[in-house]
Symmetry: C2
Subunit: 337 residues, 2 copies
């Protein structure tokens, strides 16, 4: 295991312990990465050559659709002894709860109850942070650590529509979008943005009223013209491999109904990605996105450190008095005048 | 109207036409701002001294809770002739739909049907963009234009949990969070992050089953310890003004039920903000946030323009081969080695 030209991390380092399979070291390193410490950065550097093999699966949907339950069920299904190829599973749950309420810990405890005692599963919750790009950077780092630690499938669970989902699509090889019945009366266009990033659509809580209308509207949106993520690539491959059409699956996670179909779709999507070359394409996009975020955060940190004392506060004060405009403030802060 | 020391924008400029109340110019300027053109930036600079008086109200919630309907009803209620003080209303609806589907236009058309023909209301939808900080910058700009144009209440409607909501809270004086019944079985911690930014909680679709349990869980969360946004300030003001406790209101937007209570709460919250000095505090946070985003976007643009040809692509290629790590790539891209 490990790359041909990669130097192994120093013995006794956190990275070496993580590669050796030590779970306590893994948990400690994830905390370092979440807090963006220099120890964490060094270990990320050392582990990077060992990462790149895991299947990254993003799971997203609005609050209340049952994401956590379904993620737990998917993990359990991947760990069932009956399955020919048992896969190890890492879960990163991005929890919009603040540190104040301890919600992330609560979420972990609920999850642990379902998956406790299986050494092939590792679960980590992360409270989402407000800093621009901060959450994405932390998530990239956590996923990279779990990847290097040898977890074969990594489920990344997030709440929300919009930016968070787009970020997930950039991070993941396979994006699972979960809906629930009873939201069919919203303007359907709302769903179009979600459809563009979905590789697999799941209607959870499928025992609830309205499931048929939710399924119908999702299928109609798909038929109206599913915009492929990589239209050029798919065109080039015409005749070689069929384009991936996102399946619409129904589940009742609490009753474990339909979960196996979701797992099969996830595994089939990986085979599709590998056969069409999209796997490599998504790796590239993911790494580019990570690189961009690192650059932006670092540029900001360096600018702030180089700014003379008082300039920031003074500029902000003049801005608040509306004596300068935001673009005027920008020029001062960047030393343009 | 206008600041004492502000120079009026040049005659015949887009900014002057907007200040004179020309609606077509307003629409054209908003397009320039959305596309971040230099014409748009110049006008934003010219209009900045005229902005800062509008009451900015963020309205957020998951897809399907009925945000658009409720925003329309709030606008209608603010425009009712019976109301002593008629207020002009601007609406910025951030639509997560891609340009591909034309969803933003669809949303505008639906809204126009309800509010058509009232010159005191101006509605603009904006498709959310993927770029880091891009959406926030565009939204700040649009709100500033509507503010300078004299709209007294500006409703900013967004979908989503997490980052989008935090950004709204930074932008708005008053944040209205909308829930709908039937999501009570989600881990309650999900709601804690939302509660922290909510000034007013609304349970829409209150004729649906489960409304009591949704209301109960929201009130329990509030009682468990509502974390004030500015604890120091509230402590300092103890005895002078009571802290704001977010009301939990019930509406049926489609039947116009309960909307007047929401409007009263919004207007009461403004009075609270002004009396406690929080109005100024939120203005400051908003402008600081805008300044930060401008700085970050500009730093990135300048860095990219200064980077020699080929370095970016070459670094990305080596990263994808895992010959360098993300932090190694960062050092190359920033010229550290």
């Amino acid at each position: 295991m490990g790359p041909a030209d990669g130097l192994a991390p120093p013995a006794n380092s956190l990275a070496a312990a993580v590669l050796a399979g030590d779970r306590l070291s893994l948990a400690r390193l994830l905390t370092q990465v979440e807090n963006d410490t220099s120890l964490g950065r060094i270990a990320l550097d050392q582990l990077f050559p060992y990462a790149g093999r895991a299947h990254l699966v993003g799971v997203t949907g609005s609050p209340g659709v049952g994401k956590s339950s379904l993620v737990n069920r998917i993990a359990q299904a991947l760990r069932r002894p009956e399955r020919g190829q048992l896969r190890t599973v890492g879960i990163v749950a991005i929890d919009p709860t603040s540190p104040f309420t301890g919600g992330a810990l609560l979420g972990d405890r609920v999850r642990m109850r379902d998956l406790a005692g299986d050494p092939g599963v590792f679960i980590r919750s992360m409270a989402s942070r407000g800093a621009l790009g901060g959450l994405a950077r932390q998530t990239f780092g956590m996923v990279q650590v779990l990847d290097a630690a040898g977890f074969e499938v990594i489920l990344v669970e997030t709440v929300g529509a919009g930016q968070a989902e787009v970020d997930i699509a950039r991070l993941a090889h396979t994006t699972v979008v979960i809906e629930a019945p009873g939201m069919g009366d919203e303007i359907q266009a709302i769903k179009a943005g979600i459809l563009e990033i979905a590789d697999i659509l799941v209607i959870n809580k499928a025992d609830r009223p309205g499931v048929e209308s939710t399924e119908r509207s999702l299928r109609e949106m798909l038929e109206m013209g599913y915009p492929p993520r990589h239209p050029k690539k798919q065109f080039a491959l015409e005749g070689q491999a069929a384009a991936w059409l996102p399946p619409v699956l129904k589940t009742i996670a609490t009753a474990k109904t339909g979960v196996e179909d979701v797992v099969q779709a996830i595994l089939a999507h990986r085979i599709y990605l590998e056969q069409t070359g999209e796997w490599q394409q998504r790796q590239l996009e993911r790494l580019e996105s990570e690189m961009e975020i690192l650059v932006q955060v670092t540029l900001r940190e360096r600018w702030r450190a180089a700014l003379p004392d008082g300039v920031y506060d003074e500029t902000l004060a003049r801005l608040c008095e509306r004596k300068i405009s935001p673009y005027g403030a920008l020029e001062r802060l960047l030393g343009d005048r």
